[in-house]
């Protein structure tokens, strides 16, 4: 916690099977003042999500085992996690992958490569949208 605010900083769950992917976004977001948790596959993502109930989830779609689409579907079907905004992260540039992500409940889709600051902007946008609801 770099800032000594009364309210705790928002918790972001970063899900990505690629280590450097996880590392870049986690490090940058922490640098920018967020609390960050990470998961390397779908199953871990679900466990962490139900356990920590993060404020935003960054979900890579291509995951071993339970993939990002499936994990998102389960989270959006569960009352505890339904309202958590999920930002899909994908290296798929084709529209089909994006459409499928929105279908299962992703609130936004971001294409990789993605500059960390651009991702931060999207996270903040989702958090603002959530508080104004």
């Amino acid at each position: 916690m770099t800032r000594g605010d009364a309210t705790p900083a928002p918790l972001v769950l970063v899900v990505d099977d690629v280590d450097h992917g996880r590392e870049i976004f986690a490090e940058y977001l922490e640098f920018r003042g967020f609390r960050v948790a990470t998961a390397a596959d779908g199953l871990e993502a679900l466990e962490k999500a139900f356990e920590l109930l993060p404020d935003v989830i960054l979900m890579d779609l291509s995951l071993p085992g339970i993939d990002g689409w499936e994990a998102t579907r389960r989270l959006k079907q569960d009352d505890r996690t339904r309202d958590i905004p999920i930002i899909a992260l994908t290296a798929h540039a084709l529209a089909a992958a994006h459409d499928k992500a929105r279908e299962v409940g992703c609130n936004a889709v971001v294409t990789k490569p993605c500059l960390p600051k651009d991702l931060e902007q999207e996270v903040r946008r989702q958090l603002e949208a959530k508080t104004t609801e």
Binding site: I24, E27, A91, H92, K112, P113
Partner: protein, 720 residues
């Protein structure tokens, strides 16, 4: 003439009583009654006398009142011809036999004076005989005489007298009945005769020499007789008619043969004049007297008939003239037909022909030409044979191909002969009309047709082969297309995968670079910072290339989504200008916008148009070191297209490069382009996108002077 005085004629002694039995007598009576004719009766009686009364020869002669003669009827012991030729005039009252006949008593003619007997010329010759009158002695002149020879002792027995009386009565009775029948027949015939002449409507009269009317039929009576019941006018007309008729009779009295004259009478019932033609023929009416039979023929009708005949004759003349006119017209028609036409009469002779027929079937005028005449005769023979076969047949119409010869050239002329029988109302065949149609042309056509058909068949066969080949090729192409489709899908998938696999490491490169540049990992020297900036720029360039490649792949595979909407282009230009504002700010270029007024909205994909314009404008800014860049918007009223032209005063494109510049990775001045950071895919994408929107991009440029890229867009894509 035989005088009785010279004959020894005495009444014979009468025998007493009858020796013949009543049974034989009864037989005679019944035999006589059984016969209905005079001659058989006489024969029966004579035979009876020969058998029962001692008579040897016998002749029966009868008085014929019509001719006034005594005639032989039959005889026994004498020749038939002598009986038939026997006859004497009853008017010769002094004749011994006439005396005997009228005496009522038997008379004996003795043979003592034979020359006298011969002079009597009886069938008995010079034999002495008894003449016994027939019938009862009360009659003045009996019905006839029996001349008998061989009587014993010259005695005339009672039996002979009885037979004479009996035969006389029987013959008288037969004659009476015959006279009556005759009378009835006469009456009937008379009545028929009257009916006949009355049935003739023409008046018929028989007049005697004094002009008195002896016989008149109903028609004549109507004109010449009037009963008291007729009115005055009628009777006067009849009197006048009698006068006129008598006068007319006497004017011709001297004539001996039939005469003819006119006679004007008056119709008693209507008072009209009746013109008659009187035909009179003299006829004997009594001994030495001649009468006249006159037939009056009413010529009123005759006159009317004459007039009618004249009228008919006039009509006939008119009809004849019409027929002639029709015939002339027909000739005109026949002559105008180019095919030969011939009319053949019932005997098979050619009655008429038109000039084309004459050319084939007649000798040409002028100098004789043996060869031509031979051909004409050949044609004639061919045609005659054809026509005669038609007369023999039952068909009304006939069609056959004949082979004639052109008399002038000697060329064979195939003709189709079409004949029709002309049949009168009574079913009589009066003529045959034949038209000859020259088949030379038709045969030539048929030949050509065959040729064309053969070629056509060959062609069809070739087409069939070609079609089969084409089908094969099609099948091959279809398979290839399927393979290509599969290949294309695989390519797209490959590109998508490549893109994905490139993006992941690029994300790491760009991410870490970013972290370091942001100072997340601590402070760096200026040189480190600059070098990291170069890494970032190259990573961004690589990302742009990857994105452009992906775009091309998407367009080519048809997976580029197109969203058509109504677009106001000036607004879109404003947005583009705003986006490139930072770039413009970094140059010293003058950028102009030239928007034509009243630009219509168009239907297109807003995002793609924006991408194209942005690309063109970026290129212009990139490749123009100094001068000006302008963007111009116009509406082509003719085609309805909107054009967006981007003009610069930049480096331009050499003519040899202007075609290839739209290909992928073609940048005319590569080193310069690289310095400017282009991917080399922009124009390629722009052209592909323009095509996707049914538009096009053109280039006008001169090296070193500048370029104008123009995007043409339809008011609405065809596919929308």
């Amino acid at each position: 003439m035989v005088s009785l005085a010279h004959l020894d004629v005495l009444p014979p002694p009468r025998s007493r009583g009858g020796s013949v039995g009543s049974k034989a007598k009864l037989g005679l009576v019944s035999a006589l009654l059984a016969e209905e004719e005079a001659r058989p009766c006489a024969v029966v009686a004579l035979r009876w006398l020969v058998r029962h009364a001692g008579v040897e020869r016998a002749v029966c002669a009868v008085a014929d009142s019509e001719s006034g003669r005594l005639l032989g009827l039959t005889g026994i012991g004498v020749s038939v011809s002598s009986v038939d030729s026997f006859g004497l005039d009853l008017g010769d009252r002094a004749h011994p036999l006439v005396v005997a006949l009228s005496g009522g008593e038997p008379v004996v003619f003795h043979d003592s004076s034979q020359p006298l007997l011969r002079a009597l010329e009886t069938p008995l010759g010079n034999l002495s005989f008894h003449a016994v009158p027939l019938g009862s002695s009360k009659e003045e002149i009996g019905p006839g005489l029996l001349l008998l020879t061989g009587l014993e002792d010259g005695l005339v027995s009672d039996d002979i007298l009885w037979v004479a009386e009996l035969l006389g009565v029987r013959l008288a009775s037969l004659w009476y009945r015959r006279a009556q029948a005759e009378e009835r027949r006469h009456k009937r015939e008379r009545s028929w005769l009257f009916s006949t002449i009355n049935a003739v409507t023409d008046p018929i009269l028989l007049t005697d020499a004094d002009g008195r009317i002896l016989v008149a039929n109903a028609g004549a009576e109507m004109l010449l007789t009037a009963g008291d019941d007729k009115r005055e006018g009628w009777r006067r007309a009849v009197a006048l008619n009698n006068m006129l008729f008598s006068a007319s009779l006497f004017t011709n009295a001297a004539e001996s043969g039939p005469t003819r004259r006119e006679l004007l009478l008056v119709d008693p019932s209507e008072g009209k004049d009746l013109p008659f033609e009187v035909l009179s023929t003299p006829v004997p009416i009594r001994l030495g007297e001649t009468g006249l039979v006159s037939v009056l023929r009413n010529v009123t009708d005759l006159r009317r008939a004459t007039e009618e005949i004249e009228e008919n004759y006039r009509r006939l003349r008119v009809a004849e003239a019409a027929t002639r006119a029709q015939r002339d017209r027909l000739d005109l028609i026949l002559n105008s037909v180019l095919d030969p036409i011939l009319v053949t009469d019932a005997e098979g002779n050619i009655a008429r022909m038109n000039p084309p027929a004459e050319r084939m079937f007649t000798f040409p005028p002028g100098k004789r030409n043996v060869e031509v005449e031979r051909r004409v005769r050949t044609n004639d023979a061919v045609f005659s044979s054809f026509v005669s076969s038609l007369y023999a047949g039952q068909a009304r119409h006939w069609r056959r191909t004949l082979s004639l010869i052109d008399p002038q050239t000697g060329a064979t002329v195939p003709v189709e002969a079409i004949s029709g029988k002309v049949v009168s109302k009574h079913g009589e065949e009066t003529a045959i009309v034949t038209i000859l149609h020259d088949l030379t042309e038709a045969e030539e056509k048929a030949r050509l047709y065959e040729q064309v058909k053969r070629h056509s068949d060959e062609l069809r066969e070739r087409v069939r082969e070609a079609t089969a080949e084409l089908a094969e090729q099609n099948e091959l192409l279809r398979r290839q297309a399927f393979q290509l489709e599969q290949a294309s899908a695989m390519k797209s998938q490959f590109l998508a995968n490549v893109s994905h696999e490139l993006r992941t490491p690029l994300n790491a490169i760009m991410g870490y670079t970013h972290l370091m540049l942001e100072g997340v990992s601590g402070e760096m020297t200026q040189a480190q910072h600059d070098k990291l900036g170069r890494v970032d720029a190259n990573a961004r360039h690589l990302l742009a290339v990857i994105n452009d490649l992906l775009d091309i792949a998407r367009i080519e595979s048809g997976k580029m989504p197109v969203q058509i909407e109504r677009v106001l282009l000036p607004e879109l230009i404003d947005e583009v200008m705003t986006e490139v504002e930072p770039v413009i700010a970094g140059t010293r270029l003058a950028v102009n916008r030239m928007l034509a007024p009243e630009l219509p909205e168009i239907e297109t994909d807003r995002q793609k148009v924006k991408q194209i314009v942005l690309n063109l404008l970026s290129n212009a800014l990139k490749f123009t070191p100094e001068g000006a860049v302008s963007i111009r918007l116009e509406h082509e009223r003719g085609s309805g297209e909107i054009l967006i032209a981007v003009t610069d005063t930049g480096i331009g494109v050499a003519e040899e490069n202007q075609k290839t510049i739209f290909e992928a990775f073609e940048q005319a001045n590569s080193s310069y382009a690289r310095r400017q950071g282009g991917t080399g895919l922009g124009l390629s994408i722009c052209r592909r996108l323009a095509h996707t929107l049914d538009g096009r991009i053109t280039l006008v440029s001169r090296l070193g002077e500048g370029s104008t890229f123009t995007l043409y867009l339809p008011s609405k894509p065809r596919t929308a």
